[in-house]
Amino acid sequence: MKRIFITIIVLAAVSSVAGAKNVDLVTLPARQTVQLTIYNSEDLTLARETRYITLKKGRNQLQFSWANTLIDPTSVEFRPLEQADKIEVADTVFPGQKPQHLIWNIDSKIEGQVKVEVSYFTSGLTWQMDYVTTTDPEEKAMKFRGYVRVFNNSGEEYENAEIRLIVGTINLVEKIAELARRRGIPMPQPLTEDYKRWLSTGRFKWPTSLPRVRNLSRSPKRSSRKA
């Protein structure tokens, strides 16, 4: 079941707080192509998908949501593939009320349909190689077949995906699976000892509604495909 949606918010009031709205009218542009680059040294896949969206002149709001998937929210990028010099992402908003959800505020100098790319890192996709060899009766030559098995526990279905498999190490400073469990942008650096002492004086009151780390309750789904 698809869980990643990109929506164009039709009633895009510039002066309103997008995240505060509870009633939206949206259009849902379909995914045209998807490319997955799966690394086997880390639990990391770079997904790139293209979609056609229709923009109006001025400010547009584009909503991207990925409920119950393992996407790293800090990695989600929007890139116009056409007329890139006339389309600009003003900012990316991660509304507090809606987890696994972001809104791009996009300034467009053109009106009409454009092809865009949305890319992100996800965890939960892995691959492994299997080999089957058949020797001739003299055991002097063999047929050698290599199979790749792709496992998808990412929470999202990718139909007709172009798959690239990467061997070798890659340097990551944070695990994608951990970032996927966090909301939005990672919290700033931990408090210093001086500041903790200041907090302990009792003059400071923490907000009652601190951000919660949300646990993804997804049913593990294991699928495999032989190529």
Binding site: D91, P95, N171, V173, I185, P207
Partner: protein, 414 residues
């Protein structure tokens, strides 16, 4: 939901004084709206918020007393001791003019501040020479409204230039909504943004289109050790992108703050391949930033001690002569330079001698002429730069092994 409220009370002073106590239940107050909000994000932990409001004031008289202005907040991380109130201007004929002095006293001034017990609020007693509308600035430090920085770098295919995007990530868990607020991180552009409660905003701070970059390969035996048991004399070679934060290298607008950098490379087919990520360090103007890319599999260096002799001088004083031979292979399609870091103090220690501070050493005559030397971290840690040719275009030909020698004598050891 707004949780910071300024109340300009319009009751008589006697009633207002009573209103400061917990027993007072009946208040009549005006609620001046925020006219303007500026958020200063220079400091990563304490954020300065300055808001301007227009407050109606009554004329202070002996009978009615002064104006009492109540500032209260709930469930927000405001530092109570940091709150400041400054009258800025008085409305006169539809326009605001600066505060002026009347008979040696400012026409609007704060007399004192009261802190009601067990409440997140304070009360300013404000003198006004005449009834007027005054523009005031309330400023305070607030917690949990802060920012981080992140980078996205895309290298060209030759790895000589980067497109570097620097983002500011604003993080508002302060408990307060600020509406449309001006924001500034202390450098770069100023933003006018809606800042909602529990909202995170990612904004492009600056895009540097042509950042000159140098890809470095570093071999440091004493820091990285043996590559693996099968190659006991080889060590890991680390790859970095080196950027200089100055105009000549396509940067130099402001210091680069620490943050996560994700590095991509143009794949030559209109797309980008992910190379890895690293924490970018604070890089002042003219400073150097190094982004770690991982270990090189294309450049291999083996370090062999070819000569290792002690030469007695007198008593227990001696010199230690060494020749270190490096056998280097470059399997890349492009030429590159290998930076070999030699730690002379560690060499002396390895062979059983404490150099007693930085070792005194001199270069020997058998040192290869191809090696260029530099001393970025001091003379006891020379860096040997060795240029390597690209692998042969004919794939059947063997990669040329570059052999260089570093001949040196550590002096006056005991």
């Amino acid at each position: 939901m707004k949780r910071v409220i300024v109340i300009a009370s319009v009751l008589a002073a006697a009633v207002l004084l009573a209103a400061q106590t917990a027993s007072a239940r009946i208040k009549l107050a005006t609620l001046p709206e925020r006219e303007r909000v500026e958020i200063q994000l220079d400091n990563g932990r304490f954020t300065l918020v300055e808001e301007e409001r227009i407050v109606p004031l009554l004329k202070s008289t002996a009978k009615t007393g002064n104006n009492m202005i109540d500032f209260s907040w709930s469930n927000t991380g405001i530092d109570k001791d940091s709150i400041q109130f400054r009258p800025l201007a008085v409305r006169e004929g539809g326009k605001f003019r600066p505060i002026k002095e009347i008979e040696g006293q400012e026409e609007v001034s704060v007399i004192n501040v009261g802190y009601p017990p067990n409440e997140n609020s304070l009360v300013w007693e404000v003198y006004a020479a005449e009834a007027c509308a005054v523009k005031v600035r309330v400023s305070y430090l607030i917690n949990n409204l802060t920012r981080t920085f992140s980078y996205r770098a895309v290298a060209n295919k030759d790895e000589t230039e980067l497109v570097l995007r620097k983002y500011i990530n604003l993080w508002n868990y302060s408990g307060e909504e600020f509406g449309l607020a001006g924001m500034w991180a202390g450098f770069g552009p100023k933003f006018l943004k809606l800042v909602g409660q529990q909202e995170e905003l990612k904004m492009l701070l600056e895009k540097f289109d042509k950042v000159a970059v140098e890809k470095t390969f570093t071999f440091d035996w004493y820091t990285h050790g043996q590559l693996n048991p099968a190659k006991p004399l080889a060590s890991r070679i680390l790859m970095h992108y080196k950027l200089i934060n100055d105009e000549k290298h396509g940067l130099g607008k402001f210091p680069l703050q620490p943050g996560k950098a994700r590095i991509f490379i143009d794949d030559g087919h209109g797309g980008e391949a992910f190379l890895g990520e690293d924490w970018a360090q604070l890089t002042p103007l003219d400073g150097e930033m190094k982004l770690y890319l991982g270990e090189s599999r294309d450049v291999i260096c083996t370090r062999i001690i070819e000569k290792n002799e002690r030469h007695p001088i007198r008593g227990n004083l001696f010199d230690h002569e060494l020749i270190i031979k490096y056998e280097i292979e470059n399997y890349k399609d492009k030429p590159c330079t290998l930076d070999i870091i030699e730690q002379i103090n560690r060499v002396a220690q390895q062979y059983g001698t404490d150099p007693h501070g930085d070792a005194e050493w001199e270069r020997g005559g058998e040192t290869s002429k191809e090696i260029e030397f530099s001393y970025p971290t001091g003379r006891a840690t020379p860096v040997l730069h060795v240029k390597l040719p690209a692998r042969p275009k004919d794939k059947d030909k063997k990669v040329e092994k570059v052999v260089v020698k570093f001949h040196f004598t550590i002096k006056n050891l005991w």
